[in-house]
């Protein structure tokens, strides 16, 4: 098969010492950017672009791409070990990952996350090799009505994030929706709920909000209880997952790959949605959904695999059609252009060497990241030996600097502070945080795609139902919703019958 030949040739090129070095540097930088709270792949790549001007084109592309998917690996570390999301996409990993760390299974969580990410990334790259153009064209079929349908589907799944109380989850979902309204009205271009604050014209900035709501609020609640010494004494062998943990994760990894990969093909999506959706899927197919949030390995394996599969799949529309699907990829697109590479259908024809070397380097990069991260897990876990009185203030410092670094804005630090207080209060009230984050993201996307759909149809709502793909997605949403209700009903019925049988 020609593709296989090309791929092997690409490997030969990618394995040259120089290109290996670029892949290594990129992976390291990416991991670092992921670990440091605040600056994410978009800003990080943009600032590192000038680095690549001095090196050859292939090496530059390899390095930039490695930075991108490297950030997906790094973000996990702080989420699991400290419950502070290093990166927006890792926010959902906090839920179960941190609980695992508290039980002394932090190393295992990180290992599974790394391996799952590797598998997800490699499979996504295989998809790129085998079927890039048709897959990319599929992604293009998602116009505003289809997007709207997807958002409806996503939002209806928010109950998958609820803890014990669906009502509380819905309250937080509503809160997230309201929060998403702050900013500019997409159709009128005028400020909405900004209270005259110019800094809010772009809406509440996502990363400081998540860092405050989920991260710093955790620090605040930890501070009020006596320092726990539980996971300082973790023996080294338990850094590796047990057989049972492996078995439990396998399904999650493949499901996560499927979710992340499919979402990565759709321009306009982002990694956070992929991770959240994977978590929801895991909860819904699990036999013990109520145990989620207490340290279920599936809640780590799925989302972490999904966000890596997403990151690698996002290259498919980029390479085969030249479509950047998300802001980070758009930055990569610009970087490619400046280095003389024009992503698009002609790329495979004009510069096959480059393309295949880069694709091969994706696999190599994932391997490097795995090798880099696995042994380092011991080091990261050892960081927890630092006395909490030093450790947590350090985390706070990183969060503050991180929040500032996104937009060089002190206002964002204020946002983070505000949401840390809110998050602390919500935790006390036992209100789940994840639903608010999900609707905060999905809400505005839903509104914009609905508005665009109506602009296309000049006010006719029927456009959402008359387009086949959109109608299909909506039907799927309806079916899933009904299925969940039925399943819930059946399970409750089962529980009641069991109770009665015992009596």
């Amino acid at each position: 098969m020609e593709a296989l030949q090309n791929l092997l040739h690409g490997f030969a090129l990618a394995l040259s010492p120089l290109n290996l070095m670029y892949a290594f540097i990129g992976s390291m930088l990416g991991t670092l950017i992921g670990v440091l709270p605040g600056i994410g792949p978009t800003g990080g790549i943009a600032m590192l672009i000038p680095l690549t001007f001095r090196i050859d084109t292939t090496g530059a592309i390899i390095m930039l791409a490695a930075i991108f998917y490297g950030t997906m690996y790094g973000g996990t570390i702080t989420s699991v070990l400290v419950n502070v999301p290093g990166e927006a996409a890792s926010a959902i990993t906090c839920l179960d990952g941190y609980q695992m760390a508290k039980k002394g299974r932090g190393g295992a969580a990180l290992s599974i996350a790394a391996i799952g990410s590797f598998i997800g990334g490699v499979i996504a790259t295989v998809g790129l090799v085998v079927a890039a153009p048709p897959l990319a064209r599929m992604g293009l079929r998602f116009g505003p009505p289809e997007f709207f349908a997807l958002m409806v589907l996503g939002t209806s799944l928010v109950t998958g994030l609820s803890g014990k109380s669906i009502v509380k989850a819905l309250i937080m979902a509503a809160f997230g929706l309201l929060l998403g309204m702050v900013g500019m009205d997409p159709a009128l271009g005028s400020p909405r709920f900004t209270f005259g604050e110019m800094e809010l014209l772009g809406g509440v900035e996502l990363v400081p909000m998540i860092m405050g709501l989920m991260g710093v609020s955790e620090v605040l609640s930890v501070v009020e209880t006596p320092m726990r010494e539980v996971f300082l004494k973790t023996p080294l062998r338990s850094l590796f997952p047990t057989m049972k943990e492996w078995k439990d994760s396998v399904g999650s990894i493949f499901r996560g790959t499927a979710v992340g990969f499919s979402l990565g093909l759709i321009p306009g999506m982002n990694t956070l949605i992929a991770a959240f959706m994977s978590y929801i899927v895991e909860r819904k197919v699990s036999k013990e959904p109520d145990k989620f949030g207490t340290g279920m390995i599936q809640g780590v394996a799925g989302p972490e695999t999904a966000n890596n599969a997403f990151a690698n799949a996002a290259f498919i529309p980029l390479f085969s059609l030249g479509i950047p699907g998300s802001p980070a990829i758009a930055v990569l697109y610009g970087a490619f252009l400046m280095n003389g590479v024009t992503p698009g259908p002609l790329l495979f024809k004009e510069k096959p060497d480059l393309v295949w070397a880069v694709i091969a380097s994706f696999v190599i990069g994932n391997v490097i990241l795995l090798i880099l991260n696995l042994p380092l897990i011991g080091m990261w876990v050892a960081l927890l030996r630092i006395p909490y009185s030093i450790f947590y203030p350090l985390i706070l410092v990183f969060c503050i600097v991180g929040a500032y670094s996104i937009n060089n804005s002190v206002f964002d630090i204020g946002i983070m502070a505000l949401f840390s207080v809110l998050g602390y209060v919500f935790r006390k009230l036992d209100l789940p945080l994840a639903p608010a984050v999900l609707t905060f993201i999905l809400g505005p996307m839903m509104e914009k795609s609905l508005r665009n759909s109506l602009e296309m149809s000049r006010g006719d709502f029927g456009i959402i139902f008359s387009r086949p793909l959109a109608a299909a997605v909506l039907a799927m949403a309806a079916v899933i919703l009904i299925m969940f209700v039925v399943m819930e009903y059946l399970r409750k019925g089962q529980a009641v019958r069991e109770e009665q049988a015992e009596v």
Binding site: P191, V331, T342, P345, N407
Partner: protein
């Protein structure tokens, strides 16, 4: 009452001392003023002092990219370290506000995007604390004309076919915009008026979703800045059917202008540099010269062309007039759209 006399005596003394000081230094000032008939050697930029370039966009977009390409050359021409400061948000309002509030000493220079900035400060809903008079324009370095493009396999091969279709089906031909009151929107309004046709404007957020939806066939055409469409026009995925400028762009020599096809529409986006109003003329001249030489740098030209950015240098006087004219057109268009622009 005794207090106030006491204070006023103190105040009087203060004034007296100040007056004496001024009287003492006045001759010195006059002397240096006299010797400034021959141009005084202004120490700008001072050795070791950093010049901040405020980019009112988040890192990674085309505006930011253009600065990162120009940056190293500008640094060389100015002869001092440059630091690029991203102050993105609120469609350049945050960055422009910071520029307006900076000291007019030449150590803070800001990138200005027109007509974006004008549409912003003319719109009372935005409550901008600045306007044109808050700034001293220096020079333009990028001139990005507006274009209308279709997918390469589209049945519409020129502006006329699009206009005919729109006239036959008012508000049915979908055109992708990049934001309400953005340049791409304003350009469409001008074009609709000139052509006498109404399209269905679908507002996306920025150039990327515009392109995605055009390529996906969800809209029939799109209103771009040239730089957003150039790379793909050359790559054969889209066709630019009209350029809203007086002459064809050197980046896309085969794309006809709107004027050639009978539509007199001239509009586009530009990027330039400005400093806070009140900056000394000599400093403005120095920066102006540095920008000019930086735009002539071969490496800069090459990278800009690869990225599809239309480099164009326009000196201070011309740029100042351009800003004024653009503001005038923008004002008209905003008022047309119902924005209550305050009288100048």
């Amino acid at each position: 009452m005794r207090e106030s006399t006491f204070m006023s005596r103190r105040a009087f003394l203060k004034e007296a001392v100040a007056g004496a000081a001024v009287a003492a230094t006045a001759p010195v000032l006059f002397a240096s003023g006299a010797s400034a008939a021959a141009p005084a050697k202004i120490d700008y930029p001072a050795k070791g002092k950093v010049v901040n370039l405020i980019v009112p966009w988040p890192p990674g977009g085309p505006a930011d990219t253009s600065v990162r390409v120009l940056g190293p050359a500008l640094e060389k021409e100015l002869g001092t370290t440059i630091e690029i400061v991203n102050r993105g948000g609120a469609g350049t309002q945050i960055g422009m506000t910071e520029l307006a509030r900076s000291k007019p000493d030449g150590y803070t220079i800001g990138q200005v995007s027109l007509p974006t900035a004008a549409a912003l400060y003319l719109n009372p809903a935005r409550q901008a604390i600045f306007n044109r008079k808050s700034f001293q324009p220096i020079a333009m370095y990028i001139d990005d004309p507006g274009v209308i493009a279709v997918r390469a396999d589209s049945p519409y091969r020129d502006l006329k076919s699009l206009v005919d279709a729109a006239k036959a089906n008012p508000e049915k031909i979908k055109v992708a915009g990049s934001g309400v009151l953005a340049m791409t929107h304003l350009q469409l309004l001008l074009f609709q008026k000139e052509a006498g046709a109404k399209f269905a404007i679908v507002q996306f957020e920025g150039g990327a979703p515009q392109m995605t939806n055009l390529l996906g066939g969800h809209v029939e055409c799109a209103s771009f800045v040239l730089s957003d469409a150039a790379v793909r026009h050359k790559g054969g995925q889209v066709r630019v059917v009209g350029v809203m400028a007086k002459e064809r762009s050197p980046l896309l020599p085969d794309a006809k202008t709107a004027e050639e096809q009978g539509y007199k529409v001239y509009f586009g986006s530009s990027r330039g540099w400005a400093v806070p109003a009140g900056t000394p003329k000599e400093i403005v001249e120095i920066i102006n010269g540095a920008v000019k030489r930086a735009t002539e740098n071969a490496e800069v030209k090459e990278k800009m062309e690869r990225a599809g950015l239309a480099l164009r240098y326009m000196p201070t006087e011309e740029y100042t007039k351009y800003w004024e004219d653009t503001e005038g057109t923008t004002r008209q268009l905003l008022e047309q759209e119902g924005v209550k622009v305050p009288k100048p």
